[in-house]
Symmetry: D2
Subunit: 367 residues, 4 copies
């Protein structure tokens, strides 16, 4: 599984299973001189912490992060930053009945086929806890980006079929919304919908949107490492994501050219050119065009539901199974920060790569 | 732009602009002993060739591929395969008026910002001709996959809002359909729709679906290099793709867990376990589950339209511009083979990587 | 410093400074199903532990390794193996006088120039303690290799000018030799030589040889990732290495073709072909030829000596300085296991990569 | 053989066999805005061209390079630069007798074992002609470096046992020396020595030294991607190299610390600090220290000699063979430019990587 590393220059390697000594990551390639404390990272981890509302798992973990290396006298050194969160609230017994059954909607069967064995405790490497490493790394990227005037915000765009109305976007409301929805109306309806799911021993999917402001133009490499291509990898690499879109996304495929192209106009007073629309979501040919970047990830419903299901067993037969234990009826409220952090890592890596795009940049660094 | 390489073990590096000496790629890491001729590759290139119908550009190019290295006595040697298609039908003058204007929906502005200069002839590196290298490489991957019993098929799922009905899928019809739609009804309606677009000096988007049969279970790496994550990168890296989805994709976000989970049943006669549905599109936790893999790419309408548009100029002012030259009113019929080939490259690379997943595999190779 | 990762498929990422929370590594890509315990790794770490004789530093650290992830029920899972050794014996005060002085023979000046700051405590990232991560990773690779019948042995070939005579190679003696020299005579002379160095407040360089038995032919990739090329990177990446050679190495440059070529003969009784010499050190064109692999690393003398030296200061002036603290008068006895482990990682990674060299191998894994 | 690419940001992918359509490379990641013509590259290729003296092969090839992409109006575009040299002087028949015999000192046996087949014509991928791609890429790197004030010079340091005396270094003489030796005396003796080799149907090894002036301090990444580590990979990846050393290299292992450390003094008039010696060869801890960089590669004698040799056959028996055809009695005069070019590629890639080492550099590029 040499596939636990993401990024070319800002390289994030995550490790850890839901059960075991802990979860963590190594961030190699963070530029030196960035002020960084454990608290900077903890703030992001707290946003994905379980146990925040009745809509997320009852598992309660402190999830305190330790910086083991790479920071000296409060600043990054340019050396690998090793981050560790110890696993504390482990109840292995919850999972023992899963040893010989492949849960519907989970990767259990694939693990057994690929590796010949499987850590059946809590999803092992496919556990949602793996995202702790991503969030910790993303917190660092986001802090570096903020110093360059780049700001990311991810929130829940939809749960089930209930969608936020952009016109009702309320940043203050978002701060306390347990569902991480910025539209109070949608939030209320979504809570009712989720209560129904819980009642029915069922779960719900949802959509997360991330918008990025302050991006310079030209970020992204024009062929395989387009900004949107790496968003595609970054977001699909989050468990449960089944679709990713940029700007108008799916809708663009049904549009006509004259509708979808973003045209320019000059502002009446200043004469400054402005894009009149942003169907492209700020990305053209894989590079930013200087406007707001908009990307969305579609999450399937939590596959672990308390209903009886018919599942494949390692004996080659089909069995009836019931999944017990603590599971989120909807994952998107906790996943918003994961999406934001993966976007931060993606953008920061491409910003670093973009520094070498022209000879005149070299002359600024090596005068 | 060190971003022209895709893959870890089966590595494809594309090069070339629409104008210049040619277009090509180097495929490094193809296993030795695969029978390979120029004709094997040409067949795929012919599927993306322009000039096949009134719905695609009138540019006519032979696009004959030459194998410059890596094949000896009709078989791959295990060494890099260098593939070259020379550019022949170049009319640079068509593009001279674009030097100082940034076309709406194109990457022109990003190029200038990033590199300080730009090949304004026909999109330069962002030209659709860049996909020639991808198709050539994909033809090799697809041939290798076919020897392992894996078959890929990509076709046009929708144009504008007109969608193929899976119940009317007609593989014979598809072979001659200029729009690459397997449903004759949808194909007919889409042609009418496109005639309207052409009349209106407009263009249309569309959707391409790729299905893959014969996949073993366990293909894909469980964290950042999930099969769907690399599909995400591979497909978003094709110019004009604005969304990618796997299985139910976008719809999964509005579903409930009990609807979206794929359950199993035993076949009455044989007792063989079968998945009763395939909402997952054959991928769970980033790995194949042994069933059919289904992935879709959503393409925006061709941005080059003959209508007058208001565009940013390199002088910082907004100008009215009209794009002349030869452009496809819809790109998806020619892009189907590109999607298929990028999927083939992605799958083959992950199959190679998966060979090292367990010690018992090593013992088979190094007894 | 995105350069803390080594390997393509068996990927080792080390992290940690001599002072800080600890030292460790993440090994991604180890095949599943390898039996692995902390003790397997500890045995190797103990070979590089300080405080074993008067010829190595008095720093005494337990250097106990913990496996934080990737092992389940005593076997590797195929997921990243995170290894942690906590720093325990830190006396930061020893180093405070080095804040503004660049020690001769050390990288201090380079760090300040490159990163704008520097962890001046004990060499920071350039500390010999960084090799803990390499040894821990190498222990895993070596264990996997041993299951394929491949065995590595590294020992001290020379200290100062005193060289071991291959004719006196004594494997039993080597096990207890504090200098890790397999020739008892040379070992005795080297001890006398080192006593002189210690008396003179000076230090000595030395040579480490690693021989590898049981290698199949064809390991190594023929162009940039030749086995010897990756040995070159692996061994030069160990601090203090100033030269690397394979087989006859430096001497080959003064030889003639008929002397340097290894010819074959048939064994009189069996008719089996055998190489009559091994000037090539088992590598031709970057690939193994099936015979013993021989590689050597030349280490400079420990730069930290107690003598007064004239060094550059961060104020741009030259200052007289005396380095105190605990330092090895010769590093090679402790570095032998580091060389062995870097060779193990290099070889195992290339063995994994070589599995994909031909189509018939794929058919063995995906029948 | 996914191992034909070198570099992280300035990425060179070579392709081609000695027989086939041609030889070339793709350079991805060259910054935009560098003036570049085919003549810039041709100058370097001409330095490795065969047929320049009686000491090199009689094969005569024009070896004219074509730039197929990546250059627009005389400047690099930031897109991949594809370079092609067609094979013209091919006499395949020369090699037909080698189909079933493994030449001593060549990789023939390894190829057959690894790939199950082998291009037996002229060494295939292991041919010296593979270095054409390296030289072409290196010419670009060297031109970019020269704009930053960095200059590389490689020359023959020794042939057989005959070594140049640094005190007699004559840059003018070097320009016309067919042996590429800068010391006229050594050059004369070496010619006599080579005449003896030719008479004896034998060949000679030699040593190439590359010195680099104008390097800023801090170039190189401190752990696995040290400047010397990547020199190690780069130079060992040239066929026939059996040892690589930096600065005092092999001799450092026999020195004492106080001899080997480079101390500083202040220049009497200016007070400027200067290193009094350069035993380190300009590299400490894998990073430049701002002084001259010195690296050496040791080449074995050309293995193709006209003498009768006893070789392994593909039938498992030992056969007497005589190699005919055109071969260099010594390779180092033609290899000097290859060493220089590999050093240029290595240095330029690390310079690009180093741009991201600290936050203040980002602020210069993204103000």
């Amino acid at each position: 599984m040499a596939g636990s590393t993401f990024g070319t220059l800002f390289r994030v390697t995550t490790w850890g299973e839901s059960h075991g000594g802990g979860i963590g990551c190594v961030v190699d390639g963070c530029p030196a001189g960035l002020e960084l404390s454990e608290e900077d990272i903890q703030k992001y981890l707290d946003r994905r912490k379980p146990g925040q509302s009745r809509y997320t798992t009852g598992r309660s973990e402190a999830d305190r992060v330790r910086i083991l290396s790479g920071v000296f006298e409060g600043k990054t050194e340019g050396t690998p930053i090793s981050l560790l969160v110890e696993n504390t609230d482990q109840r292995s017994k919850d999972y023992s009945n899963l040893k010989n059954l492949y849960r519907p909607g989970h990767a259990d069967f694939g693990f057994d086929e690929k590796y010949g064995l499987r850590d059946y405790r809590g999803g092992g490497r496919s556990s949602g806890r793996e995202t702790i490493g991503r969030v910790a790394a993303g917190a660092i990227a986001a802090k570096a980006l903020s110093q360059l005037g780049i700001r990311l915000r991810a929130y829940v765009k939809a749960i089930g079929g209930i969608e936020c109305d952009p016109a009702r976007y309320d940043e203050e409301y978002l701060k306390t919304s347990p569902l991480q929805m910025p539209d109070p109306d949608a939030d209320k309806k979504a809570r009712e919908y989720l209560n129904g799911c819980i009642r029915d021993l069922d779960s719900s999917g949802g959509v997360i949107e991330c918008v990025i402001d302050g991006m310079p133009a030209g970020v992204g490499e024009p062929v395989f490492d387009k900004l949107d291509a790496l968003f595609g990898q970054a977001l699909f690499s989050i468990g449960a994501v089944k679709a990713v879109e940029v700007g108008d996304g799916v809708l663009a495929a049904a549009a006509r050219g004259h509708e979808n192209n973003d045209q320019y106009a000059e502002e009446p007073e200043t004469g400054k050119p402005v894009k009149m629309t942003n169907h492209a979501g700020g990305i053209l040919g894989g590079m930013t065009d200087g406007s707001q970047v908009i990307v969305r990830a579609y999450f399937k419903p939590t596959p672990s539901i308390a209903r009886e299901q018919r599942a494949l067993g390692s004996d080659g037969h089909v069995h009836t199974m019931t999944i017990t234990g603590r599971h989120d009826p909807v994952i998107v409220p906790r996943a918003a920060v994961v999406v934001e952090c993966m976007c931060a890592v993606t953008v920061f890596d491409l910003l670093l790569r973009g520094m070498t795009s022209k000879m005149e940049n070299l002359e600024k660094i090596y005068p």
